[in-house]
Amino acid sequence: MVTKLNLQRQSFLGADSEIVLDRSRSALVGLGGGGSHIAQQLAHIGLGHFLVIDPDFIEDTNLNRLVGATLEDVGLGTAKVDIAERVIKSVNPSADVVKRLASWTEVTAELCDVDVIFACVDSMGCRSELEGFARRFLIPLIDIGMDVHELSGEFSISGQVMLSMPSKPCMRCLGLVTDDGLAKEAARYGAAGGKPQVVWPNGTLASVAVGFFMKIVTPWETQKATPLLLEYDGDLQTVTPSNKLPHLPANCKHFDSLNELGDPFWTPLTVRELLA
């Protein structure tokens, strides 16, 4: 009986790659169409430690895209974190999966401990807040997003994958987060119904996101710099580097202050807590 993941076919990632992956810890924030794909792929590549975070339970409208979910889950109203854990453990039983049926803002102490955060959230406001958190604790964040727009009576699918690396251009630098966009989103709060979502664009974006992760953690070549932002055109079925990239500053100016690092309130009480 096979009980251990055999990673022989990915040994080109380096002599230490199996150890590095086994000792790496990633958080997946949001386990819907995108996050469930990423969880499955990270299990296959041998990631050792997962922190999976989502406050929601599966609904029948999720079944068109949530990897690993079954009709039985819909009947039972299974938590999305439980589905993710089941998928991961079915591939790699030795993976350490910490699951939190909560918003990421309720588990920030655990989120500080991860090497990389995957942001698989719906709103501009949420991805902006999550990026701010990741920058504060010097954690690379990989964000994926897709959308379906109605154009002249037809539909267009688009999306993006972004690597938000501390000190490098952020979502504001890249125009993915704007004050205007946040204000419009806030004005629409509560009014929007379910956004259109389908499985194949999520799968494409999730695969690119896992590629970003592997390039950071176990790079198989070092000559080609990974573009920070890749844009997905779901109509043409292409993924290309954003044309914004040549115009970006080398380093981010939105998160460049010492005051934006670490615990906002560090007191003698914090020290006593540390020593206890």
């Binding site: 000792r23 790496s24 655990e110 500080c112 604790f137 950071i216 953690v217 380093n251 010492l258 560090w266």
Partner: protein
């Protein structure tokens, strides 16, 4: 509880470039990483946001050590810790590959001057780290604790390098 020093590869590359610049008489250069602390579920994090460099004139010509900081240099470092409210991590570079080690002089001097930063920032942890070309090792003094704890180092960039992930170097 582990202590982890995190710095971006942008900061690290600039730091190493400056540490490798020759000095008129000092055999090596030293600097201080300006850090803000954070407490995660399992670790004390020292998050580096800048470098306090020791300027040429603040080294003392002391053949018994690779680099000795004069009174003026130490005073400036203490001033930075006080005015910017930061944890200070003394850094220097051993120019070889593989896991570095503190020399006997390093260990003796670290124990003498690192706790001095508590005179200006008593509630913050302070420390010392020595880098090699592909690894690092460190010590951290936590307020209320009489002896230093070990420090792991993570360089956040593309690629990401963490001392605890592989057995030899990052």
């Amino acid at each position: 509880m582990r202590t982890i020093l995190k710095l971006t590869s942008t900061l690290y590359d600039d730091l190493v470039r400056r540490l490798r610049e020759p000095h008129d008489f000092a055999a090596e250069r030293v600097a201080f990483l300006k850090c803000r602390p954070a407490l995660s579920a399992t670790s004390l994090l020292l998050l580096a946001g800048g470098v306090h460099h020791v300027v040429d004139g603040d080294y003392v010509d002391d053949p018994s050590a690779g680099a000795t900081i004069g009174r003026s240099g130490l005073r400036k470092a203490l001033q930075t810790a006080y005015t910017e409210a930061v944890s200070m991590v003394h850094v220097h570079l051993h120019e070889h590959r593989g896991r570095p080690g503190f020399s006997r002089t390093d260990l003796r001097e670290n124990a003498l001057f690192v706790p001095d930063f508590w005179n200006v920032q008593p509630s913050l942890p302070h420390g010392a780290v020595v880098f090699s070309f592909d690894s690092a090792i460190g010590q951290c003094w936590i307020p209320g604790s009489s002896s230093p704890s070990g420090v792991e180092v993570a360089i956040i960039g593309n690629p990401m390098r963490c001392t605890w992930k592989v057995t030899n170097g990052y």
